[in-house]
């Protein structure tokens, strides 16, 4: 009798998702929220991508064809803001929601209700940000770095809405980061030690501390802007005793950790995929953890390398140059470890592996141009040219975004229980891989030749490479239509996937059935299970 009651109670606990649309509004399930984050960021990727298509269409040839300069500046500003805060960051939080509980053997995130809020803030923040396009004076047009006083005294009225949106995005990120720290440290299986954790968990744990440190600084910067604009303060206005350069210090104290927020989780993803398809354990697991922590630490003390031309004293320039060059060391260690993981492996080249290898190759090229930019005297000629544009698109598109796409193909069979079309996915990979290089590689040349960034029109000697770059970008844009088709086709018509579709994959998430149940790990995994699935055995 008592056993029947227990079984009934147990059944009740194992309810599935709620029916209808309200499921998504009310959900506290980490898998549902992960899905919401991923679709939201994908929608934002398409919006930001549409802005990029507008930018490249205007730059196709010299002369102003499509847009007024003011609107062009709105496009570059919103492209940057939407891609950073709408696409890349939420996509990584989505991956963290889906994967971290499954990877540490936890039933859900530590703070599920807050998890729901931190997602549902985003669509409102995004809507407020995008709505500025329809306001008098147009959207913010001062670049995603919104340097004062262009963003204070000289900005359109819609800037106050931009400030509110940034505050909301910051709340969301901080709540997400707190949740991840709480989940990793409190909810991981009791038998799992810190140095048993998979690298995606490690990189996200470290990233969360970057978020908690950096986002409040951004909130401070926009709050000072708000009071400068509306309440008569003069933080960034020299006529009132303020300093516009102080804005840049505050912004980049957020901004530099921010770029590592966007890349560290991708490092984690790549550290899962390469061992799987090289059929060899990750080389140097512990050095990967230490390298990630070192990069995170260094990211807080190099911010002014974005500001070599602001009139810093020579001692400051020397310090920031040395500290910046130092970042190449732990980053290099990571690349060397990935290559050593491939060395003497037994490699196959399924789609996730293609993306991961392409990541290692192209991100390293972005790292090289980063090293060159770190050399302060040379930065005099590189600063604010297309060389910088090429650099950060190599690390953010073929770095961060490549990591996200690799993760989607790698874990899609686990999430959906279905396989995507491998042939089509490979076609998509090669289309994206070639077109992204046609888009961004020539930008190195036009930057070195002297074309400044953020200009809607250019001199004739830059025309040829801009033309090539634009053509490449249109092909790259098209590749996302194919990507959408592959994902939708997988969800609707994909063949059933087995629990461990990549035979050599390790990780607790692969011990779960495919498609994965709505609730998992009611019972934490045992020490033996954890060791069998760990990355360093």
């Amino acid at each position: 009798m008592s056993s029947t009651t227990a079984a009934a109670a147990h059944d009740d606990h194992h309810h599935g998702p709620e029916k209808g649309l309200l499921r998504w509004v009310k959900t506290t399930n980490h898998k549902d929220i992960g899905t919401l984050y991923l679709w939201f960021s994908f929608a934002m990727l398409l919006v930001g991508g549409a802005f990029a298509m507008g930018i490249r269409s205007e730059l196709l040839q010299p002369g102003l064809q499509l847009f007024e300069p003011q609107f062009y500046n709105q496009l570059t500003t919103m492209h940057g803001l939407i891609m950073v805060f709408g696409a890349i960051m939420p996509a990584f939080v989505g991956l963290a929601n889906w994967l971290i509980p499954m990877m540490v053997g936890a039933p859900d995130m530590a703070l599920p209700r807050m998890n729901n809020w931190s997602f549902w803030i985003l669509p409102f923040a995004g809507t407020i940000l995008l709505s500025t396009f329809f306001m008098e004076g147009g959207a913010p047009a001062f670049g995603w770095t919104f340097y004062a006083p262009l963003s204070t005294t000289f900005a359109p009225d819609s800037t106050d809405f931009f400030i509110f949106a940034v505050h909301l995005l910051g709340f969301s990120s901080i709540m997400g980061a707190i949740n991840i720290i709480a989940t990793v440290l409190n909810m991981k299986a009791p038998e799992m030690r810190l140095m048993d954790m998979p690298l995606f968990v490690w990189t996200w744990l470290i990233t969360s501390f970057l978020l908690i440190g950096a986002m409040p600084v951004l909130a401070g910067a926009v709050t000072m802007m708000l009071t400068d604009r509306n309440f008569g303060t003069a933080f960034f206005d020299a006529t009132g005793g303020g300093d516009p350069v102080m804005f840049q210090h505050i912004f980049w104290f957020f901004g530099h950790p921010e770029v590592y927020i966007m890349i560290l989780p991708a490092f984690g993803i790549i550290s899962h995929i390469i061992p799987t398809f090289a059929r060899k354990p990750l080389f140097g697991y512990s050095s990967m953890v230490y390298a990630t922590a070192s990069i995170a630490f260094l990211s807080y003390i190099v911010w002014a390398h974005h500001m070599f031309l602001t009139g810093m004293p020579v001692a400051g320039e020397l310090y920031f140059m040395y500290a910046t060059m130092l970042i190449a060391v732990p980053t290099g260690v990571k690349v060397f470890n990935w290559v050593a993981t491939m060395w003497k492996g037994s490699m196959t080249f399924e789609t996730p592996m293609l993306w991961a290898l392409s990541f290692v190759f192209l991100f390293t090229i972005g790292g090289f141009s980063g090293l060159m930019l770190g050399i302060a005297p040379a930065d005099i000629q590189y600063h604010d040219t297309y060389f910088v544009v090429a650099h950060f698109h190599y690390v953010l598109v073929t770095g961060a975004l490549w990591g996200i796409i690799a993760a989607v193909f790698y874990w899609l069979p686990k999430w959906t229980g279905k396989m995507y079309n491998e042939g089509l996915a490979k076609v998509h990979f090669w289309l994206a891989m070639i077109s992204v290089n046609v888009t961004f590689f020539p930008q190195h040349f036009i930057g070195l030749a002297g074309m400044p960034r953020r200009i809607p029109d250019y001199a004739l000697q830059f025309a040829d490479f801009n033309f090539i770059s634009s053509i490449g970008s249109f092909a790259f844009g098209l590749s996302f239509i194919l990507f959408t088709y592959i994902i939708v086709d997988c969800i609707r018509n994909g063949k059933p996937a087995v629990a461990r579709p990549w035979g050599s994959a390790k990780g607790l998430e692969w011990t779960l059935a495919a498609p994965v149940a709505y609730h998992t790990f009611d019972e934490p995994p045992t020490r033996a299970e954890i060791l069998a699935e760990s990355q360093h055995s």
Partner: protein, 373 residues
């Protein structure tokens, strides 16, 4: 559809124009100062170091991809840790970085430390033009994007050839900065409104112009010639349209130029004391307006709603003249002060604004501006 037209237009233009293809450059300029050549050397050194590292890392990676593949029957080894190896590939990069940092530090100190300059030029960024002052010579003028470039910016697809025929499109200005060769010039760089950046690649000089602060930079050009640059910090709507042109001339030519500029100034002061007719003022005012005001208030005076006020039917252009003179001289909010223009220029541009665009304000004489200063 418009996009499709643009693409086809661009392809035809690209194939049609041989000159366009001949002009592109792949690499950084060596420039014409010792510093710019040092920077070029550092750039190439860093580039070849990266190529070398890339050769080793990508070489190992692609060798592995080709040789260690399952389809070739490769069996996976099981090694996954080596403290020695980790130490080696932490240590070697540190040594390489130190080797790179030494010459970089030396050049940086050379750039930042200047004992004595032969002359000084003050550079002021203003949305969207540059003002140059030679304090010792008493010369001051504003440098705007050349009208010939302005005229073809918005050429329709059929008139695209006009852009290609405009040599130095977007890289030419009405008044060039003139400097003597083999002379150490100190630049004092500041801004009247937002942050600009004064960049002349051939000098290896790029320095932010911060409002309310003065930055300095210096150059000692070694070769006579004309050198072009652009503003390199997003400064609002027409950031892409404020180029820099510097003529480096022989010392004798420079002295002659200084003399002619000083004579010009005397003549201009004299012209400000006489009374001008309305037609003269409007004609001169139109040129001044197109160069200095049309960027914001638009060529037809319509402005941009919510950002830049319209001239048409405005209370300012139809109200008391004293108020408008004060506004132009001292600026207000986003509107910069135009004190650097001559009294004649200000009187004529205000008259143009008050008598054109269907406005019906009074005529302003240069003497009115003189007394308002």
């Amino acid at each position: 559809m418009k996009l499709l037209l643009t693409i086809t237009g661009a392809i035809t233009a690209l194939i049609g124009s041989k000159s366009a293809l001949a002009e592109y450059t792949l690499n950084m300029t060596k420039g014409i100062t010792d510093i710019s050549q040092d920077i070029y050397w550092l750039h190439m050194m860093a580039f070849w170091v990266c190529v070398g590292i890339g050769f080793v890392v990508f070489g190992a990676m692609f060798y592995s991809i080709i040789a260690h593949r399952k389809s070739k029957g490769a069996k996976a080894a099981h090694f996954h840790e080596s403290t020695t190896v980790e130490f080696i590939w932490t240590g070697i990069p540190i040594l390489i970085l130190i080797a790179m940092a030494i010459p970089a530090s030396k050049t940086l100190v050379d750039i930042e430390v200047l004992d004595k300059a032969d002359m000084t030029v003050k550079v002021t960024g203003i949305q969207w033009k540059w003002q140059y002052d030679y304090p010792e010579e008493g010369i001051s003028f504003v440098s705007n994007l050349a009208q010939s470039s302005r005229d073809v910016i918005k050429a329709s697809p059929e008139e695209r050839e006009a852009v290609h025929n405009e040599s130095d499109y977007l890289r030419s200005v009405d008044n060039h900065l003139v400097l003597p060769v083999d002379t150490t010039v100190r630049f004092l760089i500041t801004s009247n409104d937002v942050i600009h950046n004064w960049w002349v690649p051939a000098f290896g000089v790029k320095q932010d112009a911060n409002p309310g602060f003065i930055n300095d930079a210096w150059a000692k050009p070694n070769e006579i010639g004309t050198y072009r640059g652009q503003c390199a910090e997003l400064c609002g709507k027409d950031h892409g349209f404020m180029p820099i042109v510097v003529d480096v001339v022989s010392k004798a030519d420079y002295a002659a130029w200084v003399e002619s500029k000083q004579a010009e100034k005397v003549a201009e002061a004299a012209s400000a004391t006489q009374a001008w007719t309305e037609e003269e003022l409007v004609a001169k005012g139109e040129t001044v307006y197109n160069a200095n005001c049309s960027g914001c208030h638009q060529k037809d005076g319509s402005g941009i709603p919510g950002v830049f006020p319209a001239m048409i039917g405005s209370e300012v252009t139809n109200g008391p003249a004293e108020y408008q003179i004060g506004l132009v001289l001292n600026g207000m909010g986003g509107m910069p002060a135009f004190r650097m223009l001559s009294d004649t220029d200000i009187a004529s541009v205000i008259t143009y604004e008050r008598r054109s665009f269907g406005n019906n304000g009074s005529v302003v004489q240069p003497s009115d501006v003189t007394s308002a200063r």
